[in-house]
Symmetry: C2
Subunit: 592 residues, 2 copies
């Protein structure tokens, strides 16, 4: 049986030592003092460990079952979902006008992490609802908001996102689902959607589907796509539940992982839908959900690696195998624990330095979102827009890689389902795919975000790193181990950007052939910045007389590892990028 | 339903254009002309596609079932196994004295690849038998050989390897299985073994288990381990089957993949066993099986990637999504096929250049084994001993990585079991673990093989590369694209070796902390050498007027991709290695 304990101390470190949230001039942040966030995170951690984590294996084994048109979730999910609702965990950062607690997004992210680590498939029911909530909140009429949001905030009703169809996922302009306008202002929605997470289940009284469809007679392609609210059960004007809508589950997909979440084929057969936002502007409205969802998926990536890492550490300390090459460390035992071996440590340090870097980067990003939304800060908005594909793409690639690495620590036992390590890898795998496959994230980053607003945000990004290095260059403790590698990595990234500028104009393939490498490179530079900032914060805490010296010293040592062992990857990515598109595009399609 | 077609043309290319097998002065190679090998491989490909491939998904879905102490394999496995036996595919490189065909190992490897690609789990029944055959052939008495080998060559009886116990895998000195000497010279074996692939099944009349155990009163630890032949059913002196031995299946493990192969917990309760080889020298005898098995596992790694790649290419050509950034390539269709997009090509070229490099490296290694065994060439033996952990460790890491990459081409469909891409990833995952987890391969390489025979073999390895570069430096077509990158990568590898020499003496952790990076680095250098040799061979074929110009030109272009896009990884690995053990070993175990 795998273990999971919320890393409350590290969550607090990121919020307070790194981000110093309570000192930030953002509405709502004044409440985020150490005691308050500590109490919330402590409680979230307890729920994660006691309620959600034991159901993780259950969800994987049982999966969801479609019986007589109704989806049944695994045993225990319903009771746990009730506990989440009662505890108010579904409503943390939602608008108080609709029953939410109005907490900042950064606080929501920190509290969510333990839930996602403990049971990713379970947490998706709430996560999708939150995305649908955000879209309605941003684009709905007052009437729509009053009608749907309070029940979605409380998760009495859950939500979904319906984009993909059998023949199109990324290229939604090809979609075939139709919306026929009705005399009463509603629409009849007809078509099939696939891969609908939480598409149906027995956890809520109603499910509010957000569905992309084309209004008949509208523009061709992506410009004719609109977004609709399609409730599973029609909601009467008085808020009571009315008739069953013409929405049904075609089947449940058998997946590699996240078996606890029902991934449905949804059939809309003239279902009643209500336009959300402006007609033919459905993609814009959908992106409100997608950007938030992408950061959430980036969190899933490292949250699975965190769980897997905790188990790998426990196993490495427990399993006796071989002797330390420098002399027995457990001389009274039959062998030393795995953790004495340098290559096991190399593996564990890779995992640890990734997870902690990702946590910092994700919350730092959430802080930018708060700054953008609560303070109307356009620069913060531009920066998080630039970095969203990096948070999603880099962190889910690496999250999967390190879930696999954690599995490897177990040797043969890692391959046996009973030990639970396979599930972390199988569950983490989806995060690289959904909400835009990572290749699409790389395309978004290089093909769109770099040049956004005349390249203003990427220039601000480099300026931010330069400023940080300049401000701290007198700090000898930081210089060699942190600032110098960060400078070198940032220089590599700039050189890659320069290559794209100089060559991408002539032939855009020269830029796009390097997009994936660039996304990873930028991830490393962002993590390098985070680690330099975290090391600085930890040094300051130690200088300030912090009592938990082992924690802060470990933080600095882990950062040193990342800078020494991970950051050199930028040289490789740059070398690849600099070879351009010639070898990538050389073959005729027939010769693959 | 996934596809699979044997890459016969490329198998032939490696045997004849690259290795020029029929020109080599090795006994048995004189028969390996193009027509003969072509006919064999053509037939192997047919069997793989028609018989084994359709059972791959069946095996994954059904798995093996333990009923009343007997393991039942998935539907169709038994009939297919009969076909393999009848076709003589189980006996290709076995000793003619025991019914084998006596073909070289390189030919066996080439014919095996399609079987492994088509159905890895199925092929393991035969693969394990071959390993057990080799151990008995090398270490058995004449009587043992006469008694067991003919039936194992024909696969009427299959074989297994029993090493791992619940509390020990890598560190076999801890094993508890006991062997009690009997008056008649046999032993009573008592203990439990786990992870026994093909441990029981319904494909054969008998199963010959090779079991490591400690003879009572022998030396402590690994020096007291002996190897025993323990038949499932006792074989009478006249060769007929006698009583059931005291061997039973405890359970079948539920695994992440290779469901078609029965992975058993085996219980030995005073089972009759016969010493194989010398007492207390069981590890030496077992290594006869393990070295062969490790090369076979390296083949599994890329063979799964090959299958996954074939499907990814088909999907990328079929799936219409988006438009080429340089202008529509399928203007009459609703969208262009995925394969027009640079990042999809980057992904497919990664896969293709890996698989073809791995095929060349594996057969080149098999050729060294033939040279060692058939010509008694000690240098070839030393070189393949050095490279075995690289073939196993690098190729299985990358094989899994690219099976995952192929899955990624499918987007959401890659995560759905129905499409079959998940199985390739799940099946490929085991190859990184069994026959010595890849961290153990790295330890073997850096901790043992580099220094073997005074470092003679690694020096010969570098000399071989240097000589190749020198011999071809006048070849302008090779120089910039192939020889220069090979030279640079080889220099990086030498620098890493130098770092180990200079620092590993003081503190062996400085070497072992870099062992995994070194293994990957050496893999890249070996692949770089293969690609340079293949490019040269392809250029010569074109100059010689070969008619299939597209094939040879594609080969050269694929090689250029590898050299440009993959070989730069050596710089990153060197940078990591050069940071030594300090950051790796910095933390106390309690602070992870």
């Amino acid at each position: 049986m795998p273990i999971y304990n919320a890393p409350t101390k590290d969550l607090q470190f990121v919020l307070h030592d790194l981000l110093k949230v309570s000192e930030q001039d953002i509405a709502g942040y004044e409440d985020l003092d150490r005691d308050f966030t500590g109490a919330v995170l402590e409680e979230a951690g307890k729920v994660a460990t006691a309620v959600l984590h034991p159901l993780n294996v259950v969800g994987d084994k049982e999966g969801c079952v479609l019986e007589n048109g109704v989806v049944r979730t695994p045993k225990g999910f319903k009771a746990a979902f009730e506990q989440m609702k009662e505890g108010g965990w579904t409503a943390m950062d939602c608008d108080p006008e609709y029953g939410g607690q109005g907490l900042p997004y950064v606080m929501n992210s920190a509290a969510m992490e333990p839930f996602v680590s403990a049971n990713m498939a379970f947490n998706m029911y709430q996560g999708l609802t939150h995305g649908a909530y955000s879209a309605i909140h941003a684009h709905g009429t007052d009437e729509q908001k009053q009608k749907f949001l309070p029940k979605m905030v409380s998760c009495e009703w859950t939500g979904t996102m319906n984009l993909t169809e059998p023949h199109c996922g990324t290229d939604l302009g090809l979609m075939r689902t139709k919306a026929a306008p009705q005399a009463d202002g509603s629409y009849k929605i007809t078509g099939q959607k696939i891969f609908i997470s939480a598409g149906d289940h027995d956890l809520a009284d109603n499910i509010i589907h957000l569905v992309l469809a084309k209004i008949e007679g509208g523009p061709e392609g992506i410009k004719g796509v609109s977004l609709f609210i399609v409730p599973k059960i029609i909601v009467n004007d008085d808020g009571s539940l009315g008739d069953r809508n013409a929405v049904s589950v075609g089947s449940i997909e058998e997946k590699m992982g996240i078996h606890g979440n029902s991934t449905c084929v949804m059939n809309y057969d003239g279902a009643t839908g209500y336009l959300l936002g402006t007609e033919h502007k459905g993609m814009r409205a959908m992106f409100t959900m997608m950007n938030e969802a992408r950061i959430g998926v980036g969190l899933q990536g490292y949250a699975q690696a965190e769980s897997a890492y905790q188990n790998a550490v426990a196993y490495a300390n427990d399993r006796l195998q071989g002797r330390a090459v420098t002399g027995a460390e457990n001389p009274d035992g039959p062998a030393d624990p795995l953790i004495v071996h340098p290559d096991i440590r190399r593996n564990l340090m890779d995992q640890k330095s990734f997870v902690e870097g990702a946590r910092a980067f994700t919350f730092w990003g959430a802080n930018l979102i708060d700054r953008a939304h609560r303070n109307g800060d356009k620069d913060a908005d531009g920066l998080i827009s630039l970095l969203t594909p990096v948070i999603k793409g880099f962190q889910t690639d690496k999250g999967f890689e390190y879930a696999v690495a954690a599995q490897q620590v177990y040797g043969g036992h890692g391959y046996i389902e009973e030990w639970g390590m396979s599930q972390y890898a199988r569950d983490a795998r989806i995060a690289m795919i959904y909400e835009g496959a990572n290749g699409v994230q790389a395309l978004d980053l290089v093909g769109r975000k770099l040049a956004q607003d005349g390249g203003k945000h990427v220039m601000a990004f480099f300026e931010m790193i330069k400023t940080f290095i300049k401000e701290n260059e007198g700090n000898e403790a930081l210089k060699a181990d942190f600032l110098d590698p960060l400078k070198a990595a940032s220089k590599d990234l700039q050189a890659a950007g320069m290559y794209f500028m100089q060559n991408g104009m002539k032939n855009p393939n020269h830029a796009l052939a390097g997009s994936y490498d660039f996304m990873h490179m930028m991830g490393h530079v962002c993590f390098g910045l985070m680690w330099a900032k975290m090391a600085k914060a930890a040094m300051e805490a130690l200088e300030g007389g912090a009592s938990d010296t082992a924690f802060y010293e470990t933080k600095i040592a882990t950062g040193r590892y990342y800078m020494a062992r991970q950051l050199p990857a930028t040289t490789m990515h740059l070398a690849r990028i600099n070879t351009g598109a010639d070898t990538v595009m050389a073959l005729d399609a027939a010769n693959f």
